[in-house]
């Protein structure tokens, strides 16, 4: 059974600071997804990472994938309040019939 673990689950940070969210998974996969969910809203796709060493950036967010370590990171640079949300990583693998397994999410709060 594929397990996806995120840490931390809760993150409170000040505006202007940097931080990293970690996503570990338990089986071989080269397909990892990051989603954002604002309070009371749906999930929005942020990044799709499809190979070892893949790196994608959008604004103050940068995601990377290390398939050998079974680890993805979501790095936040110079956080701003608008980044406050819950961030989920999700993984699928070739034996899963394309079903995604989600982590529990990281609730990020950026304080002024």
């Amino acid at each position: 059974e594929l397990k996806v673990e995120q840490n931390p689950l809760f993150l409170s940070m000040q505006e202007g600071k940097n931080y990293t969210i970690y996503c570990n998974y338990s089986t071989t996969s080269d397909r990892l997804y990051w989603y954002r969910q604002d309070p009371g809203k749906s999930l929005e796709s942020l990044f799709v990472l499809l190979s070892n060493g893949a790196v994608k950036q959008e604004g103050r967010l940068m995601a990377s994938l290390d398939t050998k370590a079974r680890l993805s990171t979501l790095h936040i640079t110079a956080a701003v309040h608008d980044l406050s949300a819950t961030y989920f990583c999700a993984v699928d693998y070739r034996g899963s019939n394309y079903k995604l397994t989600f982590g529990k999410g990281t609730l990020l709060t950026v304080n002024p």
Binding site: R31, Y33, K41, S42, L43, E44, S45, V48, L50, F88, D92, N97, Y98, K99, L100, F102, G103, K104, G105
Partner: protein
């Protein structure tokens, strides 16, 4: 394109009642999914479909039924609602062509069973 739409947005049911949550996508995606999200938790897959007429169970299928008669629609039926089914339900769709599976989510249905 409207993307993935869900109705209703909110619903309160009494124990034992039944209802159908509607989901429609206009992106011609072949795969569709139903998830539930409990407070402070991630998403759990209820059922999914790889095409019209083909459905399969996910992680938590008990108490639910689905059908998929068209590419666009994937309704979720709750029979004999129970308090444990109080949750937010998300429908999602994706085009799976052998490469990857970026899923697109609907706005959700918030269901309370009392």
């Amino acid at each position: 394109n409207a993307g993935v739409t869900q109705t209703p947005k909110f619903r309160i049911l009494k124990i034992g009642q039944s209802m159908t949550l509607q989901c429609t996508q206009d992106m011609n995606h072949n795969y569709m999914y139903w998830y539930r999200q409990d407070p402070g938790m991630g998403l759990k897959l209820i059922y999914y479909s790889v095409g019209a007429g083909i459905t399969d169970k996910g992680e938590v299928p008990n108490g639910y039924n689905v059908s998929r008669s068209t590419t666009e629609d994937f309704p979720l039926r709750l029979e004999l609602a129970a308090p444990s089914q109080t949750s937010v339900y998300f429908c999602a769709s994706s085009y799976v062509g052998g490469s990857y599976n970026e899923q697109f989510f609907g706005p959700g249905t918030r269901l309370t069973v009392l």
